[in-house]
């Protein structure tokens, strides 16, 4: 098959696998982070505010990895388009 079709197929398969892997890993890890934060809040309600801030900051930093994946795949798909 010609190289443009092969490139399209490879990019599509790679994008699918990449998004799937990064999103599943991210969801599992963020869920665990929220779980630990909630346990801490239940144990000591007076530091709940500080825990909430740390939770939000931690989740934004975790989210960055998924954003890098989206960015690379958007670039790949843009490259594919022309």
């Amino acid at each position: 098959m010609e190289s443009q079709t092969l490139l399209t197929i490879v990019v599509i398969i790679t994008s699918g696998i990449g998004i799937m892997a990064s999103t599943v890993t991210l969801a599992i890890v963020e869920g665990r982070a929220v779980l630990k934060a909630l346990e801490g809040m239940v144990r000591q309600p007076e530091v709940a505010n500080r825990l909430f801030t740390s939770l939000i900051v931690g989740m934004a930093l975790l989210e960055t990895s998924a954003i890098y994946t989206i960015l690379v795949i958007s670039l790949l798909l843009g490259l594919l388009g022309g």
């Binding site: 500080r50 801030t53 939000i56 900051v57 934004a60 989210e63 960055t64 954003i67 890098y68 989206i70 960015l71 958007s74 798909l77 843009g78 388009g81």
Partner: protein, 215 residues
Amino acid sequence: MDRVAPQVVFQFLGISVTDTVVSTWIMMLIIIGGIVIVRRFFPSLLEKLITFLSDTISDVMERPAEPYLPYLGSLIVFILVANVIGVVPIITTPTKDLNTTAALAITVFFAVHVFGIRKKGVWGHIKTMAAPLGLFFLMLPLDIVGQLSRTLALALRLFGNIISSELIVDVVYEVAPIVVPLPMIALGLFTGVLQAYIFTILATVFINLAVRENE
């Protein structure tokens, strides 16, 4: 993808001015006009906003927020208005351009060094960056590389979040243009507010790392 990239609006003395820059000018007018109106009619609201910002910053830094409030307050107001202004019909979101977010991240990089040198002098700031002093020539380059990667991550985080929200709205608009993009736009607005807060909190943490007493 082409609709989300920055478009050139006009050329001025050989420099092409993109819609990002024009949106930033309109944003400046809106922010200044808004502050003038709020200051005359609702002064207590302005005071409450500044108190909220000051309390958040001093909470993270465990020191009075007074010297750092102008820079960090400007940062959060700019990024907040920039992320939200995309819903106004003709104006585009400035932060969906990597140039804007990279500029903001570079100002954070320089702000860290300026605040550190102002607090501790040049030699004290370098000693803070190369923390365990026994391994001076190893920790200093490592710390500088870490700071550069933190700056890059700041720029890419804000850019990636905003442009993925815009791309989702674009794609949904291609498929079902009537009512369906509205929840996506709402999600984009929420993401914009959250990312403005995150950017400012991270800038506060980086400044705190340079300014704190670690003995």
